[in-house]
């Protein structure tokens, strides 16, 4: 591979396709910075019950006390006092697409949201800055008792159910950014799938940051009742600004006995977003939790979706793709915690780094005392596409039980010259050959994506591979 070829920006095309922004059209924007007053103001604006307001204020104290993480990517550039913590885009959540304000509608039209809803989805939510501006679910599902609301609506309309589960999977003391989210959370999805209901077609949420120096802190709570199934898909983009934004979500999922939940993320934030997310699911007897996590965008991503297998027969699966281009650091991975006998888990991670990017896998397999006959396999493969990029693998394994079978394998390599040569000798040019090899590399995960995302992912990879092989 020659390096003399001019290098294309890995994320070329982002600015045109996603990097635009609307004129500021918010109805309310908190002042910059974070203190008790701001948190109280957010709570007041939302007209929340007192317990939530107290919860937020308590979380703020925890956030202030906790030090920044001493490991992982460099987050020292985040200026917590320069961020707008709450930007309310409209006065009300729209019930129909026509009611969404025109400029926002234009944005989501550009991103193809309404089209996707009609074609592929059971329900759609769209969040713009701090609030969900549109939410819709198929009537059939609504009649079956499926709830698909913004998290704020969830609290308003189903307080008892909400309160029973909120903060139980990820307490605000979990980590600094979970505490931050707990104090200023806004928007996100609240999903409840009743016993035995199968939501065959995915529910989707789309997250968009528009305002400069904005922090988005959506909160998602998903409860899948016994024997039910749901597939939730989220996508995210933001305008390309010269200053940095912060996205720090908390996602809590409860998968009851025999149920199955799949959570797919296609993270495509612009390169000025710090993406620091805490995602965790608890899976009970014979339940299955699957995370499909694609990280393409952002400046720094720290995200390790986790599955706690609480009862026998629970199964956790994490499929993770990270693509790091110029100036990007994808610190992705996953955690599986075996708390009960006969639980099983599988992690597959594929990371690609290019143009000086840094992609990595950081993971944990933990088998607690008593979790006998647990099985776990972890496979991490990394592809480094040029001499200036970097790949890291940090798998942690903590095993407190002897009757278990735990395996981890990782490889790091470049695209093989023989592979390129083989394809070239069949008349395929070098660029195409490299793109084909990369597509093949991530194929095990892409095939798990909903069709339109798989197509999009392959297209993105192809775009990013252009001109990359000399």
């Amino acid at each position: 591979m020659s390096t003399a070829e001019p290098k294309l920006d890995l994320r070329e095309g982002y600015t045109e396709k996603y990097g635009f922004h609307d004129e500021d059209g918010f109805v309310f924007k908190s002042r910059r910075g974070l203190d008790r007053e701001i948190v109280a103001q957010i709570s007041d604006m939302k007209g929340e019950p007192a317990w939530m307001r107290d919860y937020r204020l308590k979380a703020l104290e925890i956030f202030e006390k906790k030090p920044m993480p001493s490991w992982g990517p460099d987050l020292s550039a985040i200026d917590f006092q320069n961020i707008f913590y709450y930007v309310k885009p409209t006065s009300e959540e729209a019930k129909s697409w026509e009611d969404v304000p025109a400029d926002m509608k234009r944005t989501f039209d550009k991103l193809g949201i309404p089209e996707a809803e009609q074609k592929f989805l059971s329900g759609v939510g769209a969040q713009y800055d701090s609030e969900v501006v549109y939410h819709k679910i198929q009537e059939k599902l609504e009649k079956q008792g499926v709830l698909f609301l913004s998290c704020d609506q969830g609290l308003k309309e189903h307080e008892a159910l909400f309160k029973q589960y909120f903060g139980t999977v990820i307490p605000s003391t979990d980590n600094k950014f979970a505490a931050l989210n707990s104090s200023v959370w806004s928007g996100g999805s609240f999903i409840y799938v009743p016993k035995g209901v199968h939501v065959d077609v995915p529910l989707q949420a789309y997250f968009r940051i528009n305002t400069r120096d904005m922090g988005q802190f959506e909160r998602t709570l998903i409860i899948v009742d016994e024997g039910a199934f749901v597939h939730y898909v989220e996508g995210c983009t933001a305008p390309t600004y010269s200053s940095d934004s912060l996205h720090s979500a908390v996602v809590e999922i409860i998968v009851k006995p025999g149920a199955r939940c799949r959570y797919t993320t296609i993270q495509n934030w612009s390169n000025n977003v710090y993406n620091l997310v805490t995602k965790r699911a608890v899976a009970y007897r014979d339940a299955t939790m699957e995370w499909v996590d694609g990280n393409l965008g952002s400046k720094i991503t720290q995200k390790y979706p986790s599955v706690y297998m609480m009862e026998p027969g629970a199964h956790g699966e994490i499929l993770s793709i990270a693509f790091a281009g110029k100036g990007q650091h994808q610190d992705a991975g996953g955690k599986v915690i075996h708390c009960a006998p006969n639980t099983s888990s599988k992690i597959i991670s594929k990371s690609i780094s290019k143009d000086g990017g840094r992609a990595g896998y950081r993971g944990l397999v933990k088998v607690q005392k008593g979790a006998v006959d647990s099985r776990s396999t972890v496979n991490c493969d990394a592809l480094i596409l040029d001499e200036i990029s970097r790949s890291d693998t940090y798998p942690y394994m903590e095993i407190e039980e002897d009757r278990v079978s735990i395996g981890h394998e990782a490889t790091v390599s470049k695209i093989g010259d023989e592979q390129i040569f083989y394809l070239q000798s069949r008349g395929i040019n070098k660029e195409e050959a490299a793109a084909m090899i990369v597509s093949g590399f991530i194929e095990p995960i892409v095939k798990e994506l909903p069709m339109e995302y798989a197509v999009e992912m392959n297209r993105l990879i192809q775009l990013q591979m252009e001109g990359s092989v000399g």
């Binding site: 001499e387 970097r390 790949s391 693998t393 940090y394 278990v404 981890h408």
Partner: protein, 450 residues
């Protein structure tokens, strides 16, 4: 992430000033060269600034040395070994290990805080091979040590490393000149008598261009009440195209806390074969770094640990590829019974430009009881693209099918398990250079299995 970083102070070493002064006096009496005395003085300052490693430090949060830290004030860093006129004055266990080879090896025996026996066999002396205590080497071969001692284990690595450099007590020096293949194996011993000892020996081994040698370093003691502390350091320098086979076999009594830093610098075309076994001690922590600094350098590392009762072992290894076309292959096997615990924390680092790297790292763990615990943290940090790096880790129990197979052939369960465990360790034991030691290790495994 896991490389040398100064760790914040949590508490200072009690009695450090008196110890440091004592160490300087001792160095004066031994006629240490001025630069070595200055090294001690500077290290004492660093030790004062760093103190005990912080509990939340990545390399310290999984092992708890607090019992040792609380007993620290009662340790004596200057306890000499008893007068040794000839080998008969040595402890029986040590003599037994030495076997009939006494006349046919280069030998340095360290007892507590000083060397008591040092001999270069005539065959080795004729070749110009130096085998002596580090104290003598400083007095006689200072020029060979000046650029090397403390160059790979720097005092700012952590508080213990600094303390060890300030209190340095004994150790061994091995030097094999250019083009010489040492005619005899070289054996180094560390022995600790009873509780209250703080031994801080430093070992330096230097192989010239094209030189070859086999060095076996054994650490053992009886078990007594109380606490003793081995704070060791080993620096290996492999010249171009040289080859060193180095075995470290640790079988301390159960009162010994062990913390050691081991560093190897491997030049162009040189080959290091390192075999490490960890069987004894109450708590054991080792940091082993393999720096491949010249093109084509190779490091092959094979280690095993077998913990029982409440033993805790923490191994940290770093395969550092700093030049192109280097190979490193590391295999660490661990077997744990009772309430023993092991932590393996390994990292492969490939520097920018270290193309054509071939690096492999494997950690295999066998748990023999449901109260044993193994953590495995293999890592990769890769900054070059034309590389082949893989690592693997497994944790499991004795395969019931294998046990069943053997039992079906008339073996009792315990015997079947012993065979399987022995088979598990065989690939490592087979690499140990001396037959007597291989037999001994098989016995220890059998004895540990009970």
């Amino acid at each position: 992430m896991t490389t040398a970083t100064a760790v914040p102070t949590i508490s200072t070493f009690p009695g450090l000033d008196a110890w440091a002064t004592g160490a300087l006096e001792r160095a004066g009496k031994a006629n240490e060269p001025a630069w070595a005395v200055e090294q001690r003085r500077a290290a004492a300052g660093t030790a004062r600034a760093l103190g005990f490693p912080a509990r939340d430090h990545e390399l310290w949060r999984r092992i708890d040395f607090r019992t040792l830290e609380q007993a620290f004030g009662a340790l004596d860093p200057f306890r000499e070994g008893p007068v040794t006129r000839n080998l008969d004055d040595l402890p029986g266990a040590l003599l037994e290990r030495l076997g009939s080879e006494t006349g046919r090896v280069g030998l340095v025996i360290q007892r507590n805080a000083g060397a008591v026996v040092e001999q270069t066999a005539p065959e080795l002396a004729k070749q110009g091979v130096i085998v002596c205590s580090l104290d003598h080497a400083l007095a006689r071969h200072g020029d060979k040590l000046r650029e090397r001692l403390g160059s790979l284990i720097t005092p700012d690595y952590d508080g213990y490393a600094a303390l060890g450099a300030a209190l340095r007590s004994g150790g061994a020096f091995v030097y094999v000149p250019d083009g010489v293949e040492a005619a005899l194996p070289i054996r180094l011993f560390d022995w600790i008598d009873g509780a209250g000892v703080l031994a801080a020996p430093r070992t330096v081994i230097v192989l010239g261009k094209g030189a070859r040698a086999t060095v076996v370093h054994e650490q053992l003691s009886d078990t007594t009440e109380g606490i003793a502390f081995h704070l060791g350091g080993t620096e290996l320098f492999l010249g171009e195209d040289s080859k060193l086979v180095y075995g470290t076999l640790q079988e301390w009594g159960r009162h010994v806390y062990h913390y050691s830093n081991q560093r190897a610098q491997v030049a162009r075309g040189a080959e290091l074969q390192w075999i490490q076994t960890i069987l004894g001690g109450r708590m054991v922590k080792t940091n082993s770094y393999y720096n491949l600094v010249g093109p084509g350098a190779q490091a092959f590392v094979h280690g095993f640990m077998f913990g029982d009762q409440r033993q805790q072992f923490h191994l940290h290894t770093l395969q550092r590829h700093l030049a192109d076309h280097c190979t490193s292959d590391l295999l660490i096997k661990g077997c744990l019974k009772d309430r023993a615990r092991s932590i393996y924390q390994g990292l492969i680092q490939v520097a920018e430009g270290a193309q054509r790297t071939d690096a492999y790292q494997a950690n295999r763990n066998l748990l023999l009881s449901d109260t044993a615990r193994a953590d495995s943290i293999p890592g990769l940090e890769i900054l070059a693209n034309d590389v082949r790096c893989t690592h693997g880790a497994t944790i499991g129990t004795v395969d019931p099918e294998q046990v069943y197979y053997l039992m079906a052939r008339g073996l009792p369960r315990a015997e079947a398990q012993r065979l399987i465990v022995e088979g598990f360790f065989a690939p490592v034991i087979d690499r140990i250079p001396l037959e007597g030691i291989r037999d001994h290790l098989r016995q220890v495994i059998q004895w540990k299995l009970g």
